[in-house]
């Protein structure tokens, strides 16, 4: 079988730790490869043997149903053997250090470790201690590169392009790795980026990452091609960063009235899991302009493309 995504050119990075390590050409290539992977998941026999015989470990220090399942399915569709490791941690009982875990897993000779960790920089630290490829599945408030790639792919599928679009990202910017990776990716692809949030959820210096910064959601949505909502950790934020969920929803929740200010063909995105009635009106989330389930589908394609780019043996691809 031929590899639909393969260009036969080896990808010049061992790991995918963040969008910040990629230039616009590499991002575009990832998106092209991911686009070519979409049909694999839509056909009856959803498999491609490019990673057969490879071992993939999903190491998740934070619970994540969708990202973990997405990476697992992506790996399996490429023929890899996938092992899931969920590590429950609390600040009280830490147990083995990250570096010890890295050394232990490394000794089992995996080909790729996919890591999610609550601390920014933890995935990079782990990558320094292992001999295989490492993919960042989200580290603290730092980066979540495959999410940004799948978001970009979803946008490109709908709008046919990225450059020149206006994307509004709304919500808890301060604590969001999704926001950071998206701002880096979209910025590299000549997309106009806007961040919208109350000042308590805007980190210092964000104006250097986004094209425009808004505290008024109505202003921020005007003329937007894409509205990207972020999950609010409302249990943590309430009473400290925002006074209440109802006030947040009133000013920063996406409802039909606010969405009407965006372009008529604007699409609505959310990285999930959603808090309906907190950051988004259920009618919008499940409405015709929502591409949220499509993002999940693109997630598998993007992760297949990333795994393939990092792991596939170029000699096999050429054959």
């Amino acid at each position: 079988m031929t590899n639909p995504a393969g260009t036969g050119r080896p990808f010049p990075h061992r790991n995918l730790l963040g969008i910040s390590q990629l230039n616009q050409f590499e991002i575009a290539e990832f998106l092209d490869r991911a686009e070519a992977m979409i049909p694999v998941s839509r056909q009856q026999r959803k498999s491609l043997p490019t990673l057969s015989g490879k071992t993939q470990i999903n190491l998740f220090y934070e619970p994540s149903t969708r990202t973990q399942a997405s990476f697992e399915i992506a790996g399996k569709r490429l023929g890899a053997q996938v092992t899931n490791m969920s590590v429950k941690t609390s600040s009280v009982t830490k147990g083995e250090t990250l570096i010890d875990t890295a050394a232990t897993l490394n000794a089992m000779q995996p080909d790729v470790i996919i890591v999610r960790h609550p601390a920014s920089g933890a995935v990079e630290l782990l990558s320094q201690k292992v001999g295989c490829a490492v993919i960042n599945a989200g580290d603290g408030s730092h980066e979540h590169p495959t999410q940004a790639l799948l978001d970009a792919l979803t946008i490109r599928q709908h709008k046919g392009r990225l450059a020149g679009l206006t994307v509004a990202i709304c919500g808890d910017i301060a604590n969001s790795r999704v926001a950071r990776s998206n701002l880096l990716l979209l910025g590299a692809m000549q997309v106009r980026t806007r961040v919208i949030a109350p000042r308590t959820l805007l980190p210092k210096g964000i104006e250097r990452l986004a094209t425009e910064v808004f505290t008024d959601m109505r202003e921020g949505l005007k003329g937007a091609d894409v509205v990207m909502m972020l999950r609010l950790q409302h249990e943590r934020a309430a009473g400290r960063l925002i006074p209440s969920v109802r006030e947040y929803y009133r000013f920063y929740g996406l409802d039909a009235e606010k969405l009407a200010l965006a372009k008529p063909d604007a699409i609505v995105m959310h990285p999930g899991p959603m808090n309906r009635g907190v950051e988004i009106d259920p009618a919008i989330a499940d409405g015709p302009r929502s591409v949220i389930t499509e993002q999940v589908e693109m997630g598998v394609a993007v992760r297949m493309a990333v795994l393939d780019a990092l792991l596939a043996d170029p000699s096999q691809v050429a054959a």
């Binding site: 920089g121 933890a122 630290l125 603290g140 408030s141 950071r180 210096g205």
Partner: protein
């Protein structure tokens, strides 16, 4: 009766603003006199050390040093810290009370003094806790602690959050004319911050510590110090705003002083990237603008003291994701050479840099050392201000290796260190007799 002559030296004594060629005469561990040119009246049996043109300066006095003894000897003992100190030209250091047990009782002060006398080859001056167990709730026995020999009062890494408690502590410390050295950090503003607040923290996804976490409690302390008349030392300032506050308060009071970590003088927040935990410090490394403000404050005298903030941490607690790693870096061995960077760059005169590590800390602590004058302890260092070297982990004498200067090219080294007239360190490249 033993006599030592250090001849052929460039004598630099900040206390008397002296910088001339000469010799130092030492008898029975004390300085007997300083001579310009060749020394006169040297006894025949005197031991003569030829400095060969090196700088002879008072030994450095480091006001902020952590070790692991008692309680965490695998990080650092008084003996290993003192070896590092001697190699760095530090002849006296103040030991922070953050040990296990905490130095909050006269008996523990006494223990450390005895332990240091038995195992350390430099002077170790224990500071005592400002509050019991460093918990920031109840004041300790300042009178008894002073009698036991506490150098000053501090909660070390901790910071008193309650203004009412701080007022009481200052009033009571003023009673015994004791210095309070306080690290100002508002816990609710620091929150879960791990580096300087700003663009770099945002890009790294790390929570920031705003400048105001330091300046707000500092402004409070300076007002309370004026109210109570206590001798107050702002233990470690790191922001331009703090320097301004201290400078303004000093216009009205002679009883104030301020300290600065060598790290905040030599490094900035850019050194942290990407997630280098050896640069995770408290206070955090600030912006280059703030570092420049620290240099200016040192020049103007708003900042009195440069210290190493020596804080040994083992790899178990340092080799962690940034937010989870411990704070602190060792610094005794690199203090002088890192400070000399500012001299070589022309930012600060040599006399000013040496004063901030000798005469000024001695004044703050009420010590007779820190000067080259008759009657002072013969704590003397010989410095080659131009000696080039590279900081390498393998050469570190401290038991922990968490240096923020690994691989740094430094210029200037201590060639020989004398404590009470006895040579306790001699550099491998020190030329001369012996």
């Amino acid at each position: 009766m033993s006599t030592l002559v250090i001849s052929n030296a460039r004598i630099i004594d900040p206390a008397s603003n002296t910088d001339h060629a000469g010799a130092v005469l030492v008898r029975d561990g004390k300085i007997e006199g300083v001579a310009a040119g060749a020394p006169a009246g040297v006894p025949e049996d005197a031991e003569v050390v030829d400095a060969r043109g090196l700088i002879a300066a008072p030994g450095l006095i480091d006001m902020r040093v952590f070790t692991g003894e008692p309680g965490h000897e695998y990080r650092e003992t008084l003996a290993t810290a003192s070896e590092a100190a001697a190699a760095g030209g530090v002849t006296s250091f103040v030991l922070m009370p953050d040990t296990t047990p905490v130095v909050d009782d006269g008996a523990i002060v006494d223990f450390i003094i005895r332990r240091a006398a038995a195992t350390a080859n430099v002077n170790v001056l224990p500071a005592a806790a400002l509050t019991r167990g460093l918990r920031g709730e109840e004041i300790t026995e300042y009178g008894l602690l002073r009698e036991a020999g506490a150098a000053y009062l501090t909660d070390g890494r901790g910071s008193i959050q309650s203004a009412g408690l701080m007022r009481a502590a200052m009033s009571y410390a003023a009673n015994f004319d004791m210095v309070i050295a306080h690290n100002t950090a508002d816990a609710s503003l620091v929150a879960d911050g791990v580096m300087n607040d700003g663009e770099l923290a945002t890009i790294s996804g790390l929570r920031g510590i705003p400048l105001e976490a330091e300046t707000i409690p500092l402004a409070r302390d300076l007002q309370l110090a004026a109210l109570t008349g206590v001798r107050y030392h702002a233990a470690q300032i790191s922001t331009a705003g703090s320097a301004t506050l201290v400078a303004a308060a000093k216009q009205k009071s002679q009883r104030l002083s301020a300290g600065l970590s060598i790290n905040n003088l030599a490094l900035n927040e850019n050194d942290v990237s990407p997630y280098r935990t050896f640069f995770k410090l408290s206070p955090p490394l600030r912006s280059e603008d703030d570092r420049q403000a620290m240099i200016e404050a040192l020049r103007s005298g708003a900042i009195d003291v440069i210290h190493s903030a020596h804080d040994p941490q083992d790899s178990e607690v340092k080799r962690q994701p940034f937010a989870e790693a411990s704070e602190g870096a060792i610094g005794l061995e690199t203090l002088l050479a890192a400070a000399l960077r500012l001299v070589h760059s022309g930012d600060v005169p040599l006399m000013t840099v040496l004063r901030a590590m000798t005469h000024r800390p001695a004044e703050v602590l009420g010590l007779t050392s820190g000067r080259l004058a008759a009657g002072a302890p013969a704590d003397i260092i010989l410095i080659d201000p131009d000696y080039p070297w590279v900081v390498a982990e393998k050469d570190i004498r401290s038991r922990s290796r968490n240096t923020a200067f690994e691989g740094a090219k430094l210029q200037g080294a201590v060639m020989e260190t004398f404590v009470a007239g006895r040579s306790v360190f001699r550099h491998a490249d020190r030329r001369g007799d012996k």
